[in-house]
Symmetry: C2
Subunit: 362 residues, 2 copies
């Protein structure tokens, strides 16, 4: 009974009750004013509308989809929704989708190619009109196949090949952070670089490295370690960096969660983030500002990324050509990189805290 109890009121019921034909009712209710104007007199349209709301008529989407071959459904794949970055992107997707009368389906793929395949098939079996992938592998092998099958889709968060995507300008973000650390005088720095298949980590790292390169400093390979995009991964990567005899004076983790792991590892080693070693993250997740040591990071417009993703997809569904978009990142400086400037010694109690948008000293 489809969960709506008694209310199985159909177009036909309305039509019968009004002595009209079902098609007339359909047009009156759904066609935009021009269509419904052609279908019935204004008075009749009004009668129809009134009865529809009175009886609480709800169109049956299955019937409509069957007829029109459009489901108004969008499938969304993400590595995991419990990654707040993806969750926030998805919130943007959902919000924008609702504005376009689209519903979204989301599934977790855990970044595993086999699961990506399975989930994609499941989602397509539901006859979605289009898809959004938040878990693109940079090589675009699988996504190329999907594209070849004629499925309209866009990528968010990560880019791949020349498939249409909405990403943060990760290269620029990495560069901003590189410049920030350079200004603070850090020469020997390290990167916790994320997974090698994700464009986010790749581009952020590249941007960061190139900022240093332009300052004439080459970051040696042993200072760049890959890691999962979570706290555990960040911690492990930091351990690896600290195992080295001379630790770097600053660590850039390409993701806030990894940065939190770095913070934890530092503390295990009796080091103070911000004073002993500068730490920066990426994304400006809500937690970054609230951490015991507020985290310098790059704000990426996650919500907006989701919204733009839907926008692009909608245009794709209309048959328009679309261009990939890159959204502007914004550097957010906090104590985790400026602690040393603020007079907090390594014993570090009661030290000043700059929590939002502090700009680097000139």
């Amino acid at each position: 009974m489809c969960a709506n109890g008694t209310s199985a009121v159909t177009l036909r019921m309305l039509a019968d009750q009004l002595g009209l034909h079902v098609s007339t009712v359909s047009r009156a209710l759904h066609g935009t004013s021009d269509e419904s104007g052609r279908a019935a007199s204004p008075a009749t349209v009004e009668r129809i509308r009134r009865l529809a709301t009175e009886l609480d008529y709800r169109p049956n989407p299955h019937a409509a989809s069957l007829r029109t071959r459009r489901s108004n459904l969008i499938g969304v794949l993400v590595p995991r929704l419990s990654d707040i970055v993806l969750a926030m992107i998805y919130e943007g997707i959902e919000e924008a989708a609702a504005e376009h009368d689209l519903s979204t389906f989301v599934a977790n793929t855990r970044d595993l190619p086999e699961i990506q395949r399975i989930r994609t098939d499941m989602v397509l079996a539901r006859r979605v009109d289009g898809m959004i992938f938040g878990d693109a592998y940079v090589d675009a092998r699988f996504l190329g196949e999907v594209a070849a099958r004629g499925v309209p889709f866009v990528l968010v968060n990560r880019r791949a090949g020349d498939l249409p995507s909405v990403t943060c300008n990760d290269h620029l973000g990495g560069r901003l952070l590189g410049e920030h650390l350079l200004e603070l005088g850090h020469r020997d720095v390290a990167v916790v670089a994320g997974e090698p298949y994700a464009s986010t980590g790749i581009d952020r790292t590249e941007g960061f490295v190139s900022a240093y390169a332009e300052a004439g400093i080459e970051i040696p390979p042993r200072r760049i370690v890959r890691s999962p995009f979570d706290a555990t991964g960040g911690r492990a990567a930091a351990e690896q960096l600290l195992a080295d005899g001379r630790p770097p004076s600053a660590i850039f983790a390409v993701n806030d969660f990894a940065a939190i792991g770095v913070l934890g590892a530092l503390r295990d080693h009796g080091l103070h983030a911000g004073t002993d070693i500068a730490v920066a993250g990426f994304n400006d997740t809500p937690l970054a500002a609230e951490l015991p040591v507020p985290l310098t990071t790059v704000r990426s417009p996650m919500h907006e990324m989701g919204r733009r993703g839907i926008e692009l997809l909608v245009r794709l569904l209309r048959g328009e050509q679309v261009e990939s978009e890159q959204l502007r990142p914004e550097l957010v400086v906090r104590v985790s990189t400026t602690g040393a400037l603020l007079g907090g010694g390594s014993s570090g109690s009661k030290q000043g805290v700059a929590r939002t948008h502090l700009h680097p000293p000139a």
Copy 2:
């Protein structure tokens, strides 16, 4: 064209190609062995199966739903997916749903009653078979209406009235934490209690308070402050508690994120969590263990809660009677409450770290 490009192969195509009737093909493919056995000879069934896979036949769910009046769709409402607790519960929901060949729809309500209404209507308009609410208000007013409309649903994470729900045993969780802090000798404690409409905060607080009451200690009202379930909320609540002349010796936040906010506030005041003031959270989110000061907390089986939610709903959809379930919480002791025991002075560098399942000193 529903995103599947060329592949619009239908039952009729299979039937025509095999010289069979479409109903025969339908039964062969979908009825369980007894049904399909009745419908066609084993050899024919085999022929049908083979052709179906060869042509990559995918049943059209809209047509099936239209006919059967079952959509195999479940609507899920959560306050916000960017709350990792709900995201993890949803992961459990999605996983279990997939095992039952159900698809799920999720929507954010931001814990706002008007949006709960709107989203519920949207979800119902999609003709879901049932719903899962993760955003129940304890008063169950709105949910009572939904129940009255005959929609099958279950609650997860929060309970309300006597509606079927799957929750953590929050009362017990609060109690475990109370007993833990009592054992550590804390007499003057405070609670960051969450939102007054959420059973989670209510029950956890109550369990905690009752543990103290049984030890003959009454926690005064000014030591119990409500707050949003996020870091910002926790920070504000902690500020309020610290503004009091004599701060408590321990703070229990009913949610890990609020606890992180508390941690931040403490640091702003030059206080060390775990040594100066003990801090505990609830949920054991993945971050809790990785924080610079690893957080004592109560593990709530979030993933399992989601899974059980689907399990209950499935039984409800079969018309069975169901009972609410409470899952076991588990105390996880970390440095944020035991720091003082571990010899870390208030200057606090290079101190020992107990990260997982440390049990309180006997």
